[in-house]
Amino acid sequence: MTLAILQRTDRFVSVVWPSGLHGMNGYLFLLPAVALVFILVIALGYMLEFSLHELDLSTYRLKEAYSLTNYQTILDRPVYLRVLWRSLLAALIVTVITVFLAFPYAYLMVRTSSAATRKFLLVALFLPFFIGQVVRAYGWLIILGKQGLLNSILTGLGLPALDLIYNYPAVILGLVQYMLPFAVLLLTPAVAAISEDVELASESLGANWLQTFRHVVIPMATPGLVGSSVVVFTLTLTDFAMPEILGGGTSDFIANAIYDSYFQISNIGLGAALAILLTLIGSALVALMFMIAGTGTLAVTEAEE
């Protein structure tokens, strides 16, 4: 039975991918990536097309004529630039804090000699992946709310309750907590690639722990730092749920403005223009980071050499 299935599969493969094409096997593995990029490019093409048509309020359809009205609207209305700036600033703050917190976590997870500690850190790292972003945001509402855990402790101590949610810092806090596992996961391979012998060699040459950390560990972990920074930065820049849930409606990011354009006011053209702008700015900033700090995890081979 199994043999028959294998033979049939073999015949099918020899028809679909004859032996003459075996020299191109490498390209076959590229197909999923090419398909992904192809779909993305098509979607972006449509979006670009939509962004060049103004909404006709008498029919709620896009006008036939091409125009830059939507882009002009973005420039004319300070709210969009303000929201864009807020998103960029949050992306920067969250990246710095997250990577700062993720590095010691990854380092400890790799270097600890205790199997129990490593297991605990791994479980703590992966557990949040089973809980969606929205659920985690609501978790913060329970902890930071007016009658939440923290305020209950404060009022229990006779102190006044604080406004800890529905503001920008609450959004930043929620994002840092959400991004931390991503950053740790991207940093861990880079830290694991640093041989402990290199650190011992540094110390045997007279460097103290801090000097070793600064001049040996950090430079060798640069690919991981760049990779995690890029991922955290772009995920934060495009985030929707945290500002929506923890921002109280007044700390919107650019993704929330795109949602509003598409769904609240049914202006697909304006939403598409905002999305194109976000894609361009995000891509340009990532390219800039690569230019300044190298290509992160893509430079692993160089680092190993």
């Binding site: 909404l55 309020l57 008498s58 029919t59 709620y60 359809r61 209305r77 300070p78 709210v79 303000r82 929201v83 709310g145 007016k146 009658q147 406004d163 529905y166 109280g248 409606g249 007044t250 919107d252 403005a257 509003d260 598409y262 769904f263 609240q264 006011i265 049914s266 202006n267 697909i268």
Partner: protein, 367 residues
Amino acid sequence: MSDKNTPFGFGRRRFLQGSALAAGALALPQFALAHGHTKKPSELIVRAWGGAWGESLKAGVADPFTAATGIPVRLDFTEDNEIKPKIWAAVDQGRVPPIHVNWDTTTNATISALRGATVDLGDLKGLDGLLSIAKPTGIDGWPLVNTYSYVYVCAYRPEAFPDGPPKSWRVMLDPKFKGRVALYDDGIGFNPIAVIAGGGTAADIPNNMEPAYAFYRDLKKNEPLLGEDADFTTWFQNGEIDIACTISVNARAAKQKGINVEWTVPQEGCKVDTDGLWIPKGLPENEEYWSKRFIEFAVTREAQEKWCSLLGLPPVFPGLEPPADLAGDPSYPTAPADFEKLVSVPSPILVENQPIWFAKFSEIMQG
């Protein structure tokens, strides 16, 4: 208990079952018998709002409709603004739309009608006997049927207002309510009132909205929270807000859940609006037919009485009494004098200006 045979030759239990079936068949609403020949769909999908809204539709319309026709009704709680583009795309691409009936705000339904996405409902029975607000304005025919009116009331926590209900919306500007005021996140329901609270008059709408924007700028200093229906209930429940502009249904549902919330119509008035039902184009003929029957049923006396009583809203079927807890309530307008306290903006004006008002509201609140 024994189940002895009767003189007719079958058991008493069987006799009782048969009698119940016969009685049920006789009691079946007339429309169900009259439309029994068109093939019934396996289910009807009706987009609805959740919470007290969905529960009322289920108990007042969906369940009785199923009992009468045998067609199960599934409520789809997709956000109203999110189902809109899905329906539009389906209609434009000639696909079968994702729902049969859309329970929608009149403004959004009118926008869908302007896009040509709605089926004309002019042939529905019983429309002539409804109040005039059932008919949409500023658009030809019956692309939707308005089913009730509702008021965006001033809901408040009584502990925060020991001297009685707020008399004016301007109390929202009081620094002692900083961070404890809530509005809808798109300004819906409050824009016309903000004009009056900002020193303008109803006649200023829509050409001079500056008083509203001035009011919003002042309100922004008080750090209001912006959210949706469900948020208001949560915020009141958690003691996170003292005052909000929300639909009376939400305030009443919160109160019925034991949350200490009251509502009032302040001196500037409240916005009154309508919701309706409509059917997207592109459904198979039999499904469109039964979707129409669903809407037809929703505006019958029986359905309106139960549905609107559960919602606590004035129905479009004339002559129905308000629920006992809402008799004389300003949020349940019945007489012309009640409507004088409320501000109504015609749908065509809302459709044309809502995006402009939203843009300005957003600009101020995101500052």
